[in-house]
Amino acid sequence: MFRTITALAGVSFMAFAPMSVIAEPVNVADFALAPRIAEKVASGEPLNIMVSYHDVSNEFAPFVRQGVERADAELNANARFIGPVGADADGQISEIETLMAEIDGLAISAVSTDALSPLIDRVIDAGIPVISYNTDNPDSKRLVFAGQDLVQSGRDAGEQMVNVLDGKGRVMITTIDAAAQWSLDREGGAREVLEASEGIEVVRTLNTGTDPQEIYSAIENAMLADPEITGILSLECCSTPAAGEWVKRNGQSGTIKVVGFDLLDQTVDLVIAKAVQVTIDQAPSRQGFEAVSLLVQFLNGETIDDLDTGVGIFTSENIDSAM
């Protein structure tokens, strides 16, 4: 049911266990495609594929956009990266509604799974194929999902933390938005693994806020409040470098272990400096490319299925391959 993307050179990419909600393989023959799109496919015209991302101003977005732009250049499609500035569900819905008449295929990473599901269903009902990527909408009528299973990536991060702590220590989890669904999913996965390890105690989840100064200050305060913490597990891109920076500035590199996500410049530097032990890449560019590719394949009659874009595990041993 799941296919795994091939690995980058020197990077271990892991396939996920199947997700809790898995789409069946689908073919356009079983889909009530809008006549205008069917005509376009038949004439061989380039297809308008819109890739809507939940916040085009966040750190992840430029990498997803790169993948979409690559697909635009390599596939027979006018692929366009769209989405709201700031995680704004209303903005994402309005934009898609406005563009609906010219969309031949939609890939969506939703701000809110609940808020966007009715829209996804409406787009599908209008005969336009929709897939989800990056963040899934399993309760909607979306055809398939391409991306990383958030719960599983949390489990992966938890396992990495257990490994670097040799199964013993006090762990603080950090997140820039503790209430967001992606954060809750990842935290759930991480806690599941950490709490199953006898020697590990999860002391708290720290909600850092999103501003970089705020993030650093929150970590600084929390570390002072509990000097016994030996591990910091960041659930996303942005508290990972802040945690590593705090560890480095306080001379705790190697003593307090940091496991986090993504390959921001600063995170790469901190992995090299061994202030961050492990960072997990979500292959965002690949997610953008595959989102377009799946829709083009589907519209051209190929059967498509859920696609696991995998995770890249980076340590000081293999971080060179990310530069």
Binding site: A61, T205, L206, D265
Partner: protein, 329 residues
């Protein structure tokens, strides 16, 4: 006529209510957490509130003059990222800093012109600028994080000095950000309470018409308060960049304008103009900083923290208003 006693002078201070609120919070945290009163934590709090404080001093000028500036979070982001990008491009420290500061001052100038000669309410003019400036920051960086390091092109000697501004310690003890905050607060207090310009800011905020009748050029006073605000927002943004040393246009300073306005209002400034002090603002900034610090030290759940911050802002302003009323009746 006898001079008022020390006690009656203290009791008559506008800032007494907010000062008492701060004392109550500090006493409570001293007993409820073991680390609140440690020198490390107090210096941390000082550093953590510094950037908010620098901007809040600027906002004190703007609010007293009867205006408001919602674009400060975006100005903070654009100026900091701008200076950071120039350093990564190989610029020297002084030109990069000057460019960032001039950017902030220019945004302040535009805000001032729109709000005076443009006849737009400052709430609307600066709301528009909030969006424009954030958009420019996103366009300028293409949404990518800006990290100031030698790998990206910063000259080592420039980077060292830049990082000292944000991460260094004066005499190995006092965080540089706190030094900047103290200097800005002192200068702000001197200008506001001891110069003709400060007098004019109060006069314009109290009644622009009366100020004009007295020969004060209200428009130019207001424009200058916006320029000061822009300059200080830029300084804070540059110091933030020097501290981290990384930023991202989509997140840096997002929503910061509300914290800045809250701190100044908690410190006793009036949103309708003519009222406020730099000392009150410093106390307001400290209340917000101590509160954030204390909630994390106590391990309060992140969701409860949001409720607590809102409650304390309301209670602190209420104490201030009640104490002001009881002193004037």
């Amino acid at each position: 006529m006898s001079r008022p006693s020390l006690w009656s002078r203290i009791a008559g201070r506008k800032e007494l209510g907010v000062f008492l609120a701060l004392v109550v919070m500090c006493v409570f945290l001293s007993f409820s957490t073991s680390s609140f009163l440690s020198s490390i934590n107090l210096l941390n709090v000082g550093r953590q509130v510094s950037l908010l404080g620098i901007m809040a001093v600027g906002m004190t000028f703007v609010l007293i003059s009867g205006e408001i500036d919602l674009s400060v979070g975006s100005t903070y982001a654009l100026s900091g990222l701008g200076s950071g990008m120039l350093i990564v491009m190989g610029w020297g420290l002084v030109p990069a800093l000057m460019a960032g500061l001039m950017l902030g001052a220019s945004i302040g100038l535009i805000n001032g012109l729109l709000s005076t000669y443009g006849r737009l309410p400052s709430l609307i003019a600066t709301l528009g600028m909030l969006s424009i400036v954030r958009g420019v920051a996103l366009l300028m960086t293409d949404g990518q994080p800006v990290t100031v390091n030698t790998r990206n092109g910063a000259l080592p000697q420039v980077l060292e000095k830049f990082e000292f501004m944000g991460q260094g310690y004066l005499f190995g003890l006092v965080p540089m950000q706190l030094v900047f905050f103290a200097a800005v607060a002192l200068l702000g207090w001197l200008v506001l309470s001891g110069t003709a310009f400060g007098f004019r800011v109060f006069a314009v905020g109290g009644s622009a018409k009366a100020a004009r009748v007295s020969g004060i050029h209200a428009e130019s006073v207001k424009i200058w308060t916006f320029v000061i605000m822009g300059l200080l927002a830029a300084l804070a943004g540059i110091l933030s960049m020097a501290f981290l040393p990384s930023g991202q246009a989509g997140r840096t300073g997002l929503g910061l304008e509300l914290d800045v306005i809250a701190a100044v209002v908690v410190g006793g400034a009036s949103l309708s103009g003519g009222v406020g002090t730099v000392l009150g603002t410093v106390l307001g900034v400290l209340i917000i900083g101590v509160l954030r610090n204390g909630l994390v030290l106590q391990g309060v759940s992140p969701f409860t923290q949001e409720v607590m911050i809102g409650l304390v802002i309301i209670i602190a302003v209420a104490i201030d208003k009640w104490s002001t009323r009881s002193r004037t009746t």
